[in-house]
Amino acid sequence: MATLSDSAGGGGSGRAGAELMVPQFLLKALHAILAVRVPRPLAAGTSAASFRRRDRWFHLPLHAPPPPAAAEQLPEPSATEPLVVDIYLTPSGGAGAEEVVERWTVSCEPWSAGARAAAGAGEGLAVNRAYKRCITMLRSVYTALRLLPAYRVFRLLCASGQSYNYEIGFRVGSFAAPFTRAEESAMRTRRFAPVETQLGRLVVSVQYLPSLAAFNLEICSLAPAMIITDYVGSPAAEPMRAFPASLTEAAGSAFPPPSRRPNSWASPVPWPHAPVQQAKFSPPLPLYASPTPSPPTFAGGYLQSRLSGETAPMIIPTTSSGRGPVHHRNMSDPIRGFMLPPPSPKNMRGEAGLHETPTDTRKAEVLRMADLYANLPAAPKIKDSRDESGRFSGVFSSSGSPRLGFSRSSSRLSMQDDTDDADFPFAVDDVDTPDSRPGSSGGKDVGDQASSSSHKSQDAAVGYLVHLLRSARPLRDASNSPHTSRAESLEAGATSSFMSRRTSDAFEELESFKEIRENLLARSRSRMQDSLDKSVRHS
């Protein structure tokens, strides 16, 4: 553009220059108007270190703020047609008519025949002079755009996180519907001194409402609703602490608000009886909501239903061979050393003396208890999507026969599994449906098939807590048994994912489950005694 500003200009070159300059002037004016009339999030601190070539037209780069992207899509104005830009306000949501608050008119009025001849001769109409005048006019337009009332509206609507009861819009064309008399009278007009070029006179004018107070702009809502996927405690933010989708959907509870850190110590949620759900879960339920897997509280009724025999199945990592060689499996049992929750009182009555066995067989007893417990009548299972991967997924079938479900690859019960399982902080949330649960392995029948529904929910809770306790830090001394070393290492690995749980809460639950376990043990003892007596009599 230095050539236009410095050259003497005139004659044919002058006209060519004017033909180049006038459309650029119209385009520059259009962009300058839209830059401060089209609300959009304005980037702070726009860098203007280097301007594009076309930004240098009229020595006025439009960079703060730049024109909206929509302006780039508009066709380039023609020198022969006027440019009319309407800025209007319309109620948000489209519930109302538009009202034009500002109308800019930029045009190049062609010379009459006589004037054209004079212009063609180049008398005093050097391109450089016209270019210089255009620069000044554009500076005036640029300044005026910020002094008019619509600029305040533009700034308000650009404010982030707020939406108002009005929206500002624009229309660009070469023609606009004339104002009514009333509208005309309400508006003021400002005309800028025209610039004479060899093509004609460049004229810029603006009609505007002197006050926009009548529109009563108000904030109608805060930041538009947006889904926050990485809120504190979300699966996305903390993969280790996510919940399975199946759990929440089965529970059917509303999700807690993302801004509030969910607490698993919140009010209990009835154990879900819904079929297995496979969907991803986010965000977690209040019951299991804490991404820090702290043991949930359960209402008495809920626990009662769990103990009724109709246990909500809890997926415990199972081996394919079922529950037969429990003792052998114990060696690799990741829950070795865990204080398992007591099984259902009905189911465990017959097993006497399990808690009286020596230390070295204590693990087997504990596992057996879990096994017995596992086979209590269960509520519908919620299958964890990672069930087969070897996570803590205890399956408590409702068959009544205890079955100790362990991971098929119990060695995978490690920290890594916990880390990898992005949506599964509480394996106990996985439950089997009554149909899908594995059948009882026969053998020890410590479950009461005819338990009431209250036992089911209680058993489900107990089973759930078993799994939680498994993953908790071992409460016993680490020097208990050499057999426990491997399990404890696995425990440590699994526990690390739940370190944030409050151990005091775990202790409390442990106490309650101990009591339940005692009841179940007593029952199982009596049953076993009965069966022994029968066998002796028969023999």
Binding site: S5, P61, K132, S140
Partner: protein, 187 residues
């Protein structure tokens, strides 16, 4: 003052500028600066000098003059290199700075509060009126800047030569006029 001076400069700085919107929070006005650091510094210095003068001469009418000129060698010869200034445009900004009146002593806190509340109302209404006045002044600058443009020199790579004249402490009761008269006599 800043609004007015920068608006004038924005219209008369025809070199490539980096326009910068500046909010004058006091009056809810947004004006445009050229984005030239040297110019901003010069304007700030002159405004500070003017404020110092106003503090010494309260409640006096004053005038700030922004002049654009060309420098030409006057009678160039080997032994002298006098240059003369040819002013091609001058902007006169007439000001009357009024010091805020102190409120009379009151023996009761309630009266003080009432007076304070009234003072705030007066201040805000005065400020609003001043804001509208400044807006009108800026539109006047736009009109003046666009009316006459042929006298503006050719576009150069730098800002046109200019000076901002403010009343100085040595001025007599006639203000800066003596300074201007001296300059006219010298030219």
């Amino acid at each position: 003052m800043r609004c007015i001076l920068h608006t004038i400069f924005f219209h008369r700085t025809l070199t490539l500028v980096r326009p910068k919107d500046v909010d004058c929070g006091l009056f809810e006005i947004t004006y445009v600066q050229c984005g030239l650091a040297d110019l901003e510094k010069e304007v700030d210095e002159k405004i500070n000098q003017f404020i110092a003068w106003v503090e010494k001469h309260p409640n006096r009418r004053s005038q700030v003059c922004l002049s654009f000129f060309d420098e030409k060698n006057k009678n160039p010869c080997w032994f002298s290199n006098k240059t003369e200034r040819i002013y091609w445009e001058q902007w006169f900004i007439n000001l009357h700075v009024i010091s805020p009146k102190g409120h009379g002593k009151s023996h009761s806190s309630k009266a003080t509060t009432d007076l304070g509340g009234k003072a705030l109302e007066e201040t805000s209404s005065r400020r609003a009126a001043l804001g509208l006045l400044i807006q009108e002044v800026l539109f006047q600058i736009i009109n003046f800047a666009n009316e006459k443009k042929d006298h503006i020199p050719l576009i150069s790579d730098r800002i046109f030569n200019h000076e901002i004249m403010i009343p100085s402490s040595s001025d007599s009761v006639f203000g800066w006029n003596a300074d201007v008269l001296r300059r006219v006599l010298n030219s």
